[in-house]
């Protein structure tokens, strides 16, 4: 859905994995941006109705970009940078909130 502007300097290319598929990204990209370039579709499904969601705010507010990164769930894709070899999966079901106390 998105493309890069042709800026003169290009940072190093790296590879990330989304649902087992390799995707090209650039160092410094947010994970959300890297997935949006490749039309990754839904980032997560909701715990209540299973509806598909993708980034809405890109500034850490809405939590609709939650994915599982390297086995850790509830990561905000818009708040983390890509790393070479990163393993990313869609998040299904509830976001665990550590506020039960």
């Amino acid at each position: 859905m998105f493309r890069r502007i042709d800026d003169a300097v290009r940072p190093a290319g790296i590879t990330i994995w989304f649902e087992g598929q390799s995707l090209h990204a650039q160092a410094g990209d947010s994970l959300a941006a890297a997935l949006l370039i490749h039309d990754a579709g839904a980032f997560r499904t909701t715990p209540v109705s299973g509806a598909p969601r993708a980034p809405y705010c890109l500034m850490g507010v809405c939590f609709d970009c939650l994915v599982e990164v390297d086995g850790v769930p509830n990561r905000q894709a818009c708040m983390i940078e890509v790393r070479d070899g990163m393993q990313v999966r869609r998040q299904h079901g509830p976001a665990g909130v550590a506020d039960d106390g």
């Binding site: 859905m1 998105f2 493309r3 890069r4 502007i5 042709d6 800026d7 003169a8 300097v9 940072p11 410094g28 990209d29 947010s30 941006a33 949006l36 370039i37 579709g41 839904a42 980032f43 909701t46 209540v48 109705s49 509806a51 598909p52 969601r53 993708a54 980034p55 809405y56 705010c57 890109l58 500034m59 850490g60 507010v61 809405c62 939590f63 609709d64 939650l66 850790v72 509830n74 818009c78 708040m79 940078e81 976001a95 665990g96 909130v97 550590a98 506020d99």
Partner: protein, 467 residues
């Protein structure tokens, strides 16, 4: 636990200006921000864009480039700047907990300055939860941080200066929107007209707005004015936007839809501290009550920038300096006469910045069906609670947002009500027929964002004297 004279949360114009002022006065300053780079929302990514991405720098415009001065001042000042730090708890004895690189740590400060800025007002319209629907700010973030523009048809819908600014920026990037669907009602122009004389004192902002409108009109970007009843079409992703215009229903096909209805103060931290808040009827939002020096009702806690009410980036910077002067004074690093002398021209500059607000606030007042959406519209995105269910709960006796939480779980999801807080309060006030001040807001509890339990356990171990 680490300690500092002053902790500043937020490295946007307000926080950066305050850090510079306080460091110059000799105070020890820790500056925390969740982002990896300084600049806040307006100057997001400024250092990287300036260093590496010349084309992006020129299309973002001179207001954006101005942020480089603040970023440079930060790098030259003795400030303990800790990027990538998400503050998740603050207590009234000014102990701050934040998460950085997967580890949580504590900090004790003698003074706290909250400069956490604004959030985009949620735009709950039918279909707004579909993939492909984003805020205008989100689209601008992709442009600033990642150099991305849409390569599929895009519609920008809603109202406000930021919407027009992004349209101009995308046009310059060679990716103009397929259409602008503006919701400003015709009568708003008439009510706004009386604020024009005052706004002329801040003529620079007015000229800027005129220039944007001219640029977009010249480029032939289709512009629908006075639109109502916006609805995103699509089953599992957005495929278009439908709306009423000039007595007809129009639909424009689009894969990306950018929504905007202005920005509102981010009150998560001031609510967490239980600072007193007031309802601002002209900006239709809550804001913390502040005195002349931007101090809250909680001792030792001040707020600078758009987090205390929306006045824009230039005002945010002046407020940062003003709050900084007063905190320096309270730390016995600046005599009151000197503080007042330095503050006088800042207050004058702030007053100038404010002259354009009544015009903007009147013209770009969000439409009633965005403030209080129709029954079928999802209001709480996390728990998928519709406006109709909130109205039903009110009729069953639910009197405020905190009760709505226990009735319906709205506001209980990971976003902690950042998105649904205002519409839920508006819907309850309307249904009960009472003022927003009587309805209030969600009680905010730590952690401000979900934390892995592992991280909390790590913090407990760090604080255990036996270890």
């Amino acid at each position: 636990m680490d300690s500092a004279d002053v902790a500043i949360i937020g490295a946007g114009p307000a926080g950066l200006a305050a850090a510079e002022t306080l460091a110059a006065a000799g105070a020890s300053v820790v500056l925390l921000d969740e982002q990896q780079m300084p600049g806040g929302q307006i100057y997001r990514g400024i250092e990287a864009v300036q260093a590496l991405r010349r084309q992006t720098l020129s299309l973002l415009g001179s207001d954006y480039a101005a942020g480089a001065t603040l970023a440079k001042a930060l790098r030259n000042a003795p400030v303990d700047y800790q990027p990538g730090s998400m503050v998740w708890d603050v207590s009234r004895d000014l102990v701050i907990h934040y998460s950085r690189e997967g580890r949580s740590q504590g900090l004790h400060a003698r003074h706290l300055l909250i400069a956490s800025g604004a959030l985009e007002r949620p735009v709950p319209i039918p279909g707004w939860t579909l993939p492909g629907v984003m805020t205008v700010g989100a689209l601008q973030i992709l442009l600033k941080s990642d150099g991305l523009v849409p390569r599929v048809p895009l519609v920008l819908a809603g109202s406000g200066p930021l919407l027009l600014l992004l349209a101009v920026q995308l046009l310059k990037a060679g990716a103009p929107p397929a259409a602008i669907v503006e919701t400003v009602p015709r009568r708003a122009y008439r009510s706004a007209a009386r604020h024009v004389p005052r706004a002329l004192q801040g003529w620079r902002s007015l000229m800027k707005g005129r220039r944007w409108i001219r640029t977009l009109t010249h480029a032939g970007v289709p512009w629908y004015r006075g639109c109502t009843n916006l609805r995103v079409e699509g089953a599992d992703r957005a495929t278009g936007l439908a709306f009423h215009h000039a007595g007809r229903t129009e639909t424009i096909a689009a894969d990306v839809i950018g929504l905007h209805q202005g920005v509102v103060p981010n009150v998560q931290l001031t609510r967490l501290l239980d600072c007193e808040h007031v309802w601002d009827a002209s900006q239709r939002c809550f804001r913390p009550r502040l005195d002349d020096w931007l101090a809250t009702t909680v001792d030792g806690v001040s707020v600078a920038g758009d987090g205390g009410g929306i006045f824009g980036a230039v005002a945010a910077e002046w407020q940062g300096r003003l709050a900084g002067l007063n905190i320096a004074h309270r730390l016995d690093r600046l005599p009151s006469a000197e503080r007042d002398r330095q503050a006088a021209p800042m207050r004058a500059a702030l007053a100038r910045e404010r002259t354009v607000r009544p015009l903007l606030d009147t013209l770009y007042q969000p439409p009633p069906d965005v403030l209080r959406p129709a029954d079928e519209v999802v209001v709480c995105r996390c728990e998928e609670v519709s406006a109709g269910r909130i109205r039903e709960a009110v009729r069953l006796g639910c009197s405020g947002p905190n009760q709505a939480k226990s009735f319906l779980r709205c506001g209980m999801g990971p976003c902690q009500g950042r998105i649904c807080g205002l519409p839920v309060a508006e819907i309850i006030a309307e249904t009960r027929g009472v003022d927003l001040d009587d309805v209030g807001y969600y009680r905010i509890r730590p952690p401000l964002k979900p934390l892995p339990l592992m991280e909390l356990a790590g913090l407990a171990a760090d604080n255990d004297p036996a270890q």
